[in-house]
């Protein structure tokens, strides 16, 4: 094998490897982004379903733990949220979580904790809808209807 042939083969290998690596990195970034958003989207739904089931069947203490876990996971997600669209999705999840917490506190007879949770739910709800007035009952009824619809699925 002559020196020229060796150089040709080596160049072919380097060029092939380089081009392949560039495409590989591009594909990895794309797949990783897709996987990450799929994983992130699963957090609110899994936590919310669990909180909803616990709210319907468990005692106040366990139902409270479930909804506090949901709020904690939403807090983690909010810190990582990079754009306004994911933040607005989180606001709805927060609204339902705090409304549920208020309903748990109401059934446990904790009036002050219920008020705090309901106020927080309204703060979250009004974040993107500053002029919209909603009553406590409307928010609680909306959550009950949402839970009933989820159960029917």
């Amino acid at each position: 094998m002559t020196r020229a042939i060796k150089i040709t083969f080596s160049l072919a290998a380097v060029i092939g490897f380089g081009v392949g690596a560039v495409f590989g990195c591009y594909r990895a970034a794309e797949s990783s982004g897709y996987m990450q958003s799929e994983e992130v989207m699963s957090i609110p739904s899994v936590a919310s379903n669990f909180a909803s089931q616990q709210f319907q069947h468990a005692d106040s203490a366990h139902a409270r733990q479930a909804v506090l876990l949901e709020i904690k996971l939403l807090d983690q997600l909010q810190r990582a949220a990079r754009d306004s669209s994911s933040e607005s999705q989180l606001e709805l999840a927060y609204t339902s979580a705090y409304t549920r917490l208020a309903m748990i506190e109401e059934s446990a007879g904790q009036t002050e904790a219920e008020r705090r949770a309901m106020d927080e739910a309204k703060v979250q709800f009004n974040r993107n809808r500053p002029n919209r007035e909603v009553t406590d009952e409307q928010m609680k009824n909306a959550l009950k209807e949402w839970d009933a619809a989820s159960d029917r699925l």
Partner: protein
């Protein structure tokens, strides 16, 4: 020999391109995954990654359950694997799914007349539901839970 050189070079180029593509994709994917949520601190990012991986695996595996005892048993095994890697604060979420799986197994076993296995699985379900604070863990309540789960799977 000289005539074959361009063809051999092309084969080498394509072969190395293939190796470069898969090697780089694998390494870059693992790197991207390990640095996701880097806007958070190291510990928070790690915690969120673990949570996201658990909830995603859980949601996906729950979708794959079919209404037969062997499929549910496979799901119970896969849930045990997910649970072993999940942070302890998320265990209740998995325990509730496990309780539903046992309830479904018990119901299906009852329908085919395997009353011993049905009783065993119903009791496992009751223990888990009790640990989750469920107020009604009677036989009827567990059967209702199983029926609701089986119905919702049939709709999918």
């Amino acid at each position: 020999m000289k005539r074959a050189v361009p063809y051999v070079a092309l084969v080498i180029c394509i072969g190395c391109g293939y190796l470069g593509y898969f090697g780089a994709a694998r390494i870059a994917y693992q790197y991207k995954q390990s640095t996701s949520f880097s806007s958070l601190g190291k510990q928070d990012a790690e915690q969120l990654r673990e949570t996201a991986q658990m909830t995603s695996a859980f949601a996906l595996s729950s979708l794959l359950i079919q209404n037969n005892p062997s499929s549910i048993q496979n799901h119970v095994t896969s849930l045990a694997k997910i649970r072993s890697k999940a942070p302890p604060e998320l265990w209740p979420i998995l325990d509730l799914r496990l309780a539903k799986d046992y309830a479904m197994m018990a119901r299906l076993e009852q329908q085919i007349g395997d009353s011993r296995a049905a009783t065993e699985h119903r009791q496992s379900s009751e223990v888990l539901l009790r640990s989750l604070g469920w107020q009604d863990v009677s036989e009827n309540a567990v059967t209702d839970l199983a029926d609701a789960e089986l119905r919702s799977r049939m709709k999918r």
